[in-house]
Subunit: 232 residues, 2 copies
DNA sequence: ACCTGAACACCGTTCAAGT
DNA sequence: ACCTGAACACCGTTCAAGT
């Protein structure tokens, strides 16, 4: 009894890091709707109120979670040229967003100025500087690539969600859907042609194809606009 | 008394359309956080439960609201060429998303197959068909343009939000922010250079410049990839 | 057919009170 | 310094009951 000294205050049960850990885990597992303060708290064997000692609001927690996953995006610094390097950065970014789909909505709703976000911006900018961009065009080029990544993943996630919904829907859904689609096809011939062609397709592979197509277009445009690369 | 006939059941207070009307109004005025079933209900002089006669869930209501504002996107069918026409469509889309910033998060979270979304897809596809695209490249080209619009608006809204936050923050914030920025600048030279150059800039004009820059890059890439336009 | 009113289960957040 | 427990104000949704 008296032999055991009082616990040092260092082995507290909570840390900001541990809280973000389980927040990311819950978000990955159950999406945005699954995250609640009480849920995170019980997962840590603690009351909801306790979290507010480490985090000001739930919004702040989400901001921390977003920056956490942004650390997963990586650039290969020893890439052979600016174009493959930039493409690799874009692909890594896309892969991360597909791993943590909830991160997209966070990106939409709140600005992120976390350390990992800034580090990521830095590597992108340096890459484009070496490629021969400067001034306002440098910002615009960086933005164009990022925009394509974000836009493409949003479209892919939405597409995926549509298919999931269609799968969930119970019996009796088939007829209504078929009727709706028939009507749509009648009114929208071009759309009907495309729907017929995309009937049996692997969504993920096709999404990747589209992503690469758009990226290539963009990089072509960028290549034409860069200044002469600075002499080494 | 007996002269006045019973009210015909037609003058009911609620309609799906009216409900969507006020939902869009509330969303425009107060954003995503301001919308609640009780809020919409009281705005219509009615109880929250009543809404569920016309709408299955709040999610359905948001879907309806999204399709409502998608109707605002318009394409000029009599445009001189495919490239200006496509650019005009993209700009109209962007303008709508900037008018209804809440629509972005909806676009992120849920698939939208409403009539206006489909009509919009149809006009885009026909435009690209006339431009000389077909098959999988047609889908990819359409997707690339849409992705750029969505991605660019997301970035712009996030940027805008950052500035607003910085404006709201009370006294004593300046020193902490300055310290943070100094640290960032020290660790990230390229970012520091860009931050210095972007010091006093009109966010909206600069966002538009970036949008047009990326769009031009993309259209260059698309122009190089289209097949020969079909003979008239 | 359409709407009310009350209830249910769940939120984020606060805060005195304990240790 | 750190955590509990209870409370507050607010959710989305359901449903018997009224008309």
């Amino acid at each position: 009894m008296w032999l055991r000294p009082e616990r040092p205050p260092r082995d507290r049960r909570l840390t900001r890091e541990r809280i973000v850990d389980v927040a990311v885990a819950v978000l990955d597992a159950e999406g945005h709707g699954g995250l609640s303060m009480r849920r995170v708290a019980t997962e840590l064997g603690v009351t909801a109120g306790s979290l507010y000692w480490y985090v000001r609001t739930k919004d702040d927690l989400l901001e921390l979670a977003l920056d956490r996953v942004l650390a997963e995006v990586s650039a290969d610094p020893g890439a052979p040229g600016w174009r493959p390097a930039l493409a690799a950065l874009a692909r890594s970014n896309r892969a991360m967003l597909l791993r943590h789909r909830w991160a997209l909505s966070e990106l939409t709703l709140r600005p992120n100025l976390g350390p990992n976000a800034l580090a990521l911006a830095e590597t992108g900018l340096r890459l484009l500087e070496r490629a021969g961009f400067a001034g306002a065009d440098l910002d615009a080029a960086m933005a164009a690539v990022n925009d394509h990544v974000v836009g493409a993943v949003i479209a892919e996630v939405a597409w995926h969600g549509t298919l999931e919904r269609m799968g969930e829907s119970g019996a009796g859904w088939g007829e209504r859907a078929a009727g709706y689609l028939r009507e749509v096809a009648a009114r929208h011939p071009a759309l009907a042609r495309r729907m017929a062609a995309t009937g049996e397709i692997d969504v993920e592979r096709e999404s990747e194809r589209r992503f690469e197509f758009g990226l290539d277009c963009l990089l072509d445009g960028l290549a034409a606009r860069r200044l002469a690369p600075p002499p080494p």
